[in-house]
Structure formats: structure tokens, C-alpha cells
């Protein structure tokens, strides 16, 4: 079996973000990077499937971006992926989800993967499109938002997380693409022997120009910080006045009170 895991390296979400010079993306200086959290669950699930099948499947991990994404790729290798492809693109942020999906599909086209794992969305752009679009381009079956996964003889039975905590159970046959939700499993901490082995695993580098032939279907017109959090409003005084003020603010600033 050939498995593909698509991962993205994103900034740690605790960082303070500043805009880049053009105002189209965030400035990378002073940011700590890590594997997209959703993709960690994808890598883990792929490795578990490989273990379930006695080690037979071969897992390829692929990522698009500048040189720094190799760190995330190495982590995937240390977790148990066998080989890697780095699609080098220093201006990855200029590609829209359609272009990213096309490049990934172009890579997968001749390689006959049976199963593709990826996170359901990225933590930075969060468009939640790439997984499904790749499936459509490849003509694969697709299920999203996985919180449960089981494989048996060419068929996968998955649980999709629905609003309110309930789950939808669906079955699909390979070849398929699945996108993973947080909590699907517990991503392993790589053991030291595996980290050492990962250093010797193959990472093929390919420029994105070789794979991307599509133009963008959406474009970023601008990026800006949201309206300030008001620096924190302090409400003092009489209880009733406080209540009035608080409720007014809550109605204005949050969406949850419509349920109340």
C-alpha cells in the first residue's frame, strides 16, 4: 500500500503576528514554526495504519514551502514516515488553495497512492479546502473531519465529527483522501532511535514550478490586524450598571448570546 501524508509547516499560534512589507501575509521574523497541528494527527494515523498492516505500507510525506519546512518534514519522518518530498516554494503564501491542491495532485498523479491523509485545515490560512480539492482532482473518495478511523481490506470506516459532539459514520473504499480533526488519536513523541533514523531517510526536493500549472482562483487583497481587543474594558460600580454594560458588550462582541 502507498500512503501519502500532506503536511504544512505553520507558525506557532502563540506568536505575535506582524504584517510583511506588502501587507499580504505575516512577516516571518521572530516566529517559531511547527507542524500544523491537524497534520500531526494525520501523520500519526498513517503510521498507526502502517503498524497495523505489519509495516508493509510505504508512507511518503509531502510539504510545500521554503527550506524551513524540512524541519516539519523531519518530524514526520521521525514519527514513522518512510520518505519525503519537499516541494520548494519560497512564495508559498501567494498560492491559493486551488493552486496548492493542483501541485499536490500533480505530484500524486503518476504515483498511485492508495490513501492520502492530511489535516482538515491549516492553522494559519485555515481554508479547509486542500484535502477535499485534491480528492476531487484525483477522483478519490473523500471524508473530512475524522475523529475515528478503521481500516479493513480496502475499506475504511471513519467517524466524522459533527456539531454538538455527535458523529457521522461513513464508509469509503480506497483510493481515498481523509482529512483529520484534532483528537483523532494521540500523536506520538518520536523516540530517539527514530529521530536518528529519520536523519538518514530520503528527502527529494522539487521546485513548485515543475508541478504547478494552474492560475489562482482567489487572491489576497490585503491583510491587517483585527480591531484591537479594546485593551480590556474595566467595568466598576453598581452591580446593575455593571450588568447592563456587560450584556451590551457581549451582545456586540460575541455571537454566542443569541442562543440565550
Amino acid at each position: 500500500m502507498k500512503i501519502l501524508v500532506c503536511i504544512k509547516q505553520v507558525p506557532d499560534m502563540e506568536s505575535r503576528f506582524r504584517l510583511n512589507g506588502e501587507g499580504t501575509w505575516y512577516d516571518e521574523a521572530d516566529l517559531a514554526f511547527r507542524m500544523n497541528e491537524y497534520d500531526e494527527y494525520a501523520v500519526e494515523q498513517a503510521v498507526r495504519l502502517k503498524e497495523q498492516l505489519g509495516g508493509e505500507p510505504e508512507i511518503t510525506v509531502v510539504s510545500i514551502g521554503p527550506d524551513r519546512v524540512v524541519e516539519a518534514v523531519k518530524k514526520a519522518l521521525a514519527m514513522g514516515a518512510d520518505r519525503a518530498v519537499h516541494i520548494k516554494d519560497d512564495e508559498y503564501y501567494r498560492k491559493d488553495p486551488w493552486q496548492i491542491s493542483s501541485a499536490l495532485a500533480a505530484h500524486a498523479a503518476s504515483r498511485h497512492y492508495d490513501l492520502v491523509f492530511t489535516g482538515m485545515q491549516s492553522q494559519d490560512r485555515g481554508s479547509a479546502q486542500v484535502g477535499v480539492t485534491v480528492a476531487e482532482l484525483l477522483g478519490f473518495a473523500c471524508a473530512t473531519t475524522l475523529v475515528g478511523f478503521a481500516y479493513e481490506g480496502g475499506t475504511i470506516t471513519v467517524k466524522r465529527e459533527l456539531e454538538g459532539g455527535s458523529k457521522g459514520i461513513v464508509k469509503l473504499r480506497l483510493p481515498a483522501v481523509v482529512t483529520c480533526q484534532l483528537g483523532l488519536n494521540t500523536p506520538r513523541y518520536p523516540t530517539l532511535p527514530n529521530i536518528m533514523k529519520a536523519k538518514k531517510k530520503e528527502i527529494v526536493v522539487q521546485p513548485i514550478s515543475e508541478l504547478l500549472k494552474e492560475a489562482e482562483l482567489t487572491g489576497t487583497a490585503g491583510m491587517y490586524p483585527p480591531a484591537k481587543r479594546g485593551g480590556g474594558i474595566v467595568i466598576e460600580g453598581d452591580v446593575n450598571d455593571q450588568l447592563d454594560r456587560l450584556l451590551g458588550i457581549l451582545k456586540e462582541k460575541t455571537t454566542v448570546l443569541r442562543a440565550a
Partner: protein, 671 residues
């Protein structure tokens, strides 16, 4: 009449041959027993513990003959010491007899045991014997009647107490009937130099000669055979500590306290990290279980054991021995158990007090290394999250690394990146950088430096976690990664002096980082401030306050720094109410060993126990010098319902509130 004794009186010189033959057999059994044990020690890894032999021998001599470590706990320590000296004296006495009877007299006609010397010899031996007997009796009462909590009684203990008592008693009985048959009639004046023997002799005075001689033969042989029995049993029973414990003094760890072997991550072909089987430990680790006498002093002081966690340092040491000598392929981590292994706070109370120089902590750390590096196991998911945070953002909280220096906004200090021309680098550490409560300590320290005219700089966002908690939790790989980055950075700036407000950072930078090439001097801020005060560079207002002081483990035990903080607090007007467990006997706050990152799920809370100890002194304030301790005490005060009765402060805060402006310009040459 001559003051002397006929050696081999009554038993006759014919006993010499069988005596020596039997002794040889006993010695052979003893050697064989140790030979078998050495084979077991050698299944583990090699380690050089014979470097610097002069120093080692000196330490062994002082600890063995001076019984220095044994005496630290005076209750059972003094009796053991006296028993030891008593028995040693008797042994030397017997050697002198052997020397004369089988060497000097037959070969050179030289008699040593005569005259005044013999009189004193007799007296000293009798006294030694009775002291030994009384002490032994006391220790027997303690073990079998009083039964102190946690002191296990084994088959060996019955054997040892019985055998030793019987040996001393038969010694006195044989002496007594000999005196009754000889000196009592022929040289009563001499008999008075053996007061105990004389006493026994008088009990048998009525017996006739033949009976006395029969009894003497019986007790002489009984005494002799029991001694041989003791010798032969040494390697097979706890008697082995006669050799193994002094040997452990010889093999002691001469490195600075808290030193851990770094794993060479560059080494090719290494498949095993940490200790899973006995073979992964060093021979010394196995030997420690033979040197251990299960005295339970470590267990008594272990903060984990004393809060109902499944960890006992004594048990861990014994378990390693059991596996090594029993089923050497058994899994150590499974035998000891994860819960026990993760409970250790590396406070070193066990090692500090151990009278046999056993090294409990590093065994636990090696097993933790196996759990983390080979099995990816953690004490809890929250620890894995914290470890990942250190990997991504250089701090366990997961706060953006770029904001690490933000606490210093508005203060008079620069990052080294802006201006590397500073007197000291203040290595802030993760807690003082990010935790609101501890940021107060950082700010206080900077204020103190400003007042003393010390130019202080920080690394700001370039600083990474020193790596200590992850290292103590077994993650050697991550530790080395973050440590090397810090070393390269600090060396790159040409830093000469580092001061830190965290004892963990201080130990890590000052000891662990040396192996990785850190060049600068590293000092804890209490030593630094103490010197500033004594030099007159820093003036502190004496404003009276009552307090109790907590000696943090990594400062008190690891670094032996107990005086300087007290000096400072005294200068600041403090009146101290010491806790019962202070200085080297201080009780851990519970956060060491990386446990600050973990949740305390088992047993009762260590920090609450310590806070209660502070409360019991009646002082309204507990002062500490470590960010972990401060965090633990603030938490413990709330959980332990001491709010309003007790407050927690760091020493830096106390000093910062009492700074006097300097009347003279700050002196140069602080470097």
C-alpha cells in the same frame, strides 16, 4: 607476677593447624562469594571510579574509621559508631594475639602482650567489648522491639544480631572462665585489669578446675567457629556491608553534585538509550545495592515517599540488586514502575544523608531516559505538551518566544544584542520571564543591580529554556539541543559572568553546561548580593520582619549555599524562625526533577506539606530563592488554607523593597 597471658591456654597449641585450615576455608568461601558477586557487577557498564586515588583513600579512611556519615543521624548513628569502634578494637586485639602467637613468639621469641602494655590491652579490650555489647543490645531493641516505621526486618537481620551477640558473649565467657581458672587464683591483681572478664569469672568461681576447662574449651571453639561462620557468610548476607560500604566510600562520585553523564548523540550505532535492563546501568549502580544496608534514612527524607507516592529510593536501589542477582533480563522500568520513577523530584535528600554513599538519583534518571527516549512515555500528556512547547518556543508555557524579554519593558537594562557591554548577564529563566508572579522577582533583581551600579544585560528573546526540567524528565536529546544553542549564543557574546535567580538554571549553566563548553562564571543571585553587601556596594535598609526561610534543594543540597541567603535577610532586618527541616535537611517544595511541568496525581501534595511546616513556625512569611519554590508555595498557601496566615516572598523582593540609594558613585572593577 608477670602481667601476661598464656596464649592457647587449655586448648593447646595443637589447635593452630586446624584453626588456620578452617580459617582458610572460611576465607575461601568469603572470597568465592565476592567473586560471584563481582561477576554480577560486571554485567553492567564500565565506569572509572578509581581516578584520584589519594583523595578516594583519604575519604574512605575518614568515613570508615571516623564513621562520619553514619553519625549524621545520631539516634542510631552513635550506637553504630561505638559498636563499630568496639568491634574494631576487639578485632585488632585478636590480631595482636595471632601476631604474637603464630609469628613473633615462635620465630623471634618476642612477646608483645606483657607488662604494662598487656594491662592496658586487657582493659581496653574489655571496655571495647562491653561497649560493643551494650550498643548492640540497644540496636537490637530498636530493630526488634521499637520497630521504627519503614525499617524492614529480614532473615539477615536475625542472623546478624544473634551471631554478633553470641560472638561477644562467648568471648567474655571464655575470658571469664579462663580468668577464673588462672588469674583469679594465681594473679588477682592482674585480673582487675579485665573488669568484665573478672565479673564473669566471679560467677564461675565456685566451679572446679575441670569444669572450668571444659566450659572454656566449649566457648573458645564456639566463639572461633561462629567468627568463621560470620566471615564465610559475609558475601551472602548483609554482613557484606563490612566491605561493600567502605568500598563505596572509595568509589564515591568525585564530580560536582548533580552531575549526570551526557549521552553522546553523535555516536554511531547506539541503539539503546537510558536504562531498561541492568546491563544498561554501570557496575557502580549494581554495587550500590550491595553497599546499601536498608537503613531507610533516604526513605525517611524522601518527599515523594512521605506524601504517599509509590517511590522509595531505598526500594529502588534494592530492586536493582534483586534484578541483577535474580533475573538479570527483567525490565527495570517495569520492576520499579513508571509511577515510582516519575515521582522523584531529584531533591537529593536521599544521597545527602546516605551513610553508604549510595547514588539513588542518577539511577532513576537513567530509567526515565529509557522511558522517554526509547518508549516516548511521559508522566502525563501535559508534560508532552510542555516538552513540545520547549521545542517550538523555548519555554514550557508555549508563550511566543519573541515576547520573552517583555517583562523588562521600562526597566534600566538592555539585551546583549543591543549592547553586549555589561558587567553581568542576567539569565532570567522561563518562569521569571513569563510567569506573572515570578516576573516580580526578575524586576526586583534588576532594581537591586541598578542600585548597586551593576550593568546588567539579558538575552531577551534569544534566551531559551536552560533545558533542566526536560533533562531531569529524561529527554536528553531536547536538553542537548536547547543547551547547545544557549552555550553558542552566550559564548558568542563573550560573556564572562552570569547571575541567575533560579537555582535550576544556575546548576545547569554552572555545571551541566561545562561539558558543552560554556566558559562564563555562573553565580546564584544570593551569593552575588551577599558579596555586594559585604563589599559595601549595596546598602540595604534594616527593616524588621519575621520570617522562615526555605532552603531550596538545588541551592542548599546541590550547591551547599545556605549561609549567604541568611546573611542577606539578616542584613535586611529579618528575624528567622527556622523550620525543623532546614539547610541540608530541607524538605522539597515538590517541583524539582521536572515535576514543575507535571500534575501531581498520586498521594498528597508535597507543597502543602512544606507550607504547613512553614506555618508551624509561627512566622507570617516564607522566603525562598527559587521560582519553582515560590510558585509551589503560592499554590500551597491557597490549597493548604493558609491564606491570611502565611505569605510567600522571594529574597529578591525583600531586598528590593529595602534598597538604599548609594552615597558614593558605583566603583569600577566589579569584574
Amino acid at each position: 607476677m608477670e602481667a601476661t597471658r598464656e596464649i592457647y591456654w587449655n586448648v593447646g597449641h595443637a589447635v593452630v593447624l586446624p584453626m588456620y585450615l578452617l580459617t582458610l576455608v572460611a576465607l575461601a568461601a568469603c572470597c568465592y562469594g565476592f567473586y560471584l558477586r563481582v561477576a554480577v557487577y560486571r554485567q553492567a557498564k564500565a565506569q572509572d571510579r578509581l581516578d584520584n586515588p589519594g583523595k578516594r583513600l583519604s575519604l574512605m579512611a575518614r568515613n570508615l574509621f571516623g564513621q562520619l556519615k553514619v553519625l549524621r543521624v545520631s539516634g542510631p548513628g552513635i550506637p553504630h559508631g561505638l559498636f563499630f569502634w568496639g568491634f574494631l578494637t576487639l578485632f585488632i586485639g585478636t590480631l595482636l594475639v595471632m601476631l604474637q602467637a603464630d609469628l613473633t613468639q615462635p620465630l623471634f621469641g618476642l612477646v608483645i602482650l606483657k607488662g604494662t602494655f598487656y594491662k592496658f590491652y586487657s582493659l581496653v579490650l574489655d571496655l571495647a567489648g562491653v561497649i560493643a555489647l551494650v550498643m548492640l543490645f540497644g540496636l537490637t531493641l530498636r530493630r526488634f522491639l521499637v520497630r521504627p516505621e519503614g525499617l524492614r526486618i529480614t532473615r539477615d537481620d536475625y542472623l546478624m544480631h544473634l551471631l554478633l551477640t553470641a560472638i561477644i558473649l562467648t568471648g567474655f565467657f571464655a575470658e571469664g572462665v579462663r580468668i577464673a581458672a588462672t588469674e583469679l587464683r594465681g594473679n588477682p591483681g592482674l585480673a582487675e585489669w579485665s573488669p568484665v572478664g573478672l565479673f564473669v569469672a566471679k560467677q564461675f568461681a565456685a566451679q572446679d578446675d575441670a569444669s572450668l576447662k571444659q566450659l572454656h574449651t566449649l566457648w573458645w571453639w564456639g566463639h572461633f567457629l561462629m567468627v568463621l561462620g560470620l566471615i564465610a557468610s559475609i558475601p551472602w548476607t548483609k554482613f557484606r556491608h563490612l566491605f561493600t560500604t567502605p568500598a563505596n566510600y572509595l568509589f564515591t562520585d568525585l564530580r560536582p553534585k548533580g552531575s549526570i553523564a551526557a549521552i553522546d548523540l553523535e555516536e554511531e550505532g547506539v541503539e539503546q538509550f537510558g536504562a531498561e535492563k541492568v546491563a544498561d546501568l554501570t557496575w557502580k549502580d549494581v554495587f550500590d545495592s550491595d553497599a546499601c544496608t536498608s537503613c531507610k534514612r533516604c526513605q525517611d527524607r524522601c518527599p515523594a515517599f512521605n506524601t504517599e507516592k509509590p517511590l522509595s529510593p531505598m526500594k529502588v536501589v534494592q530492586q536493582i540488586g534483586e534484578v541483577a542477582f535474580g533475573n538479570r533480563d527483567a525490565s527495570l522500568t517495569e520492576t520499579v514502575g513508571s509511577d515510582a520513577l516519575w515521582s522523584c523530584t531529584t531533591c537529593r535528600a536521599c544521597q545527602e544523608i546516605c551513610p553508604a554513599d549510595v547514588e539513588q538519583v542518577n539511577k532513576i534518571l537513567e530509567m526515565r531516559r529509557n522511558l522517554v527516549l526509547m518508549q516516548g512515555e511521559f508522566p502525563g500528556e501535559e508534560v508532552m505538551v510542555a516538552v513540545n512547547n520547549v521545542e517550538v518556543n523555548g519555554n514550557p508555557f508555549g508563550m511566543a518566544y519573541a515576547s520573552r524579554g517583555d517583562w523588562s519593558d521600562g526597566m534600566e537594562l538592555r539585551t546583549l544584542h543591543e549592547d553586549a557591554n555589561v558587567d553581568i548577564l542576567y539569565f532570567v529563566g522561563c518562569y521569571a520571564s513569563f510567569d506573572k508572579r515570578n516576573q516580580e522577582v526578575a524586576r526586583s533583581f534588576v532594581k537591586i543591580c541598578n542600585a548597586a551600579g551593576v550593568r546588567v544585560g539579558i538575552l531577551g528573546k534569544e534566551e531559551k529554556c536552560c533545558g533542566e526540567p526536560v533533562r531531569k524528565l529524561g529527554n536528553e536529546y531536547l536538553y542537548q539541543m536547547t543547551a547547545r544553542e544557549n552555550v553558542e549564543l552566550i559564548n558568542g557574546y563573550g560573556v564572562k559572568r552570569i547571575v541567575t535567580t533560579c537555582p535550576h538554571c544556575m546548576n545547569t549553566l554552572g555545571r551541566d553546561y561545562r561539558e558543552l563548553g560554556l566558559e562564563a562564571d555562573v553565580e546564584h543571585y544570593t551569593v552575588f548580593i551577599d558579596r555586594l553587601i559585604r563589599e559595601g556596594t549595596l546598602a540595604v535598609d534594616e527593616r524588621r520582619f519575621d520570617y522562615t526561610y526555605h532552603d531550596s534543594c538545588y541551592l542548599g543540597r546541590y550547591q551547599d549555599i545556605v549561609r549567604q541567603p541568611r546573611n542577606i535577610l539578616h542584613a535586611a532586618g529579618g528575624r528567622i524562625n527556622e523550620m525543623e527541616r532546614s539547610e541540608k535537611e530541607s524538605f522539597c517544595c515538590g517541583a524539582g526533577g521536572g515535576r514543575i511541568l507535571a500534575e501531581e496525581k498520586l498521594g498528597s501534595r508535597i507543597n502543602v506539606k512544606r507550607v504547613k511546616m512553614a506555618e508551624a513556625t509561627g512566622a507570617p512569611l516564607i522566603v525562598s530563592n527559587c521560582p519553582f519554590c515560590l510558585t509551589m508555595f503560592e499554590d500551597g498557601i491557597k490549597t493548604g488554607d493558609c491564606e491570611g496566615k502565611l505569605q510567600a516572598r522571594d529574597l529578591a523582593e525583600i531586598v528590593a523593597q529595602r534598597l538604599q540609594p548609594m552615597p558614593v558613585p558605583s566603583p569600577e572593577g566589579l569584574n
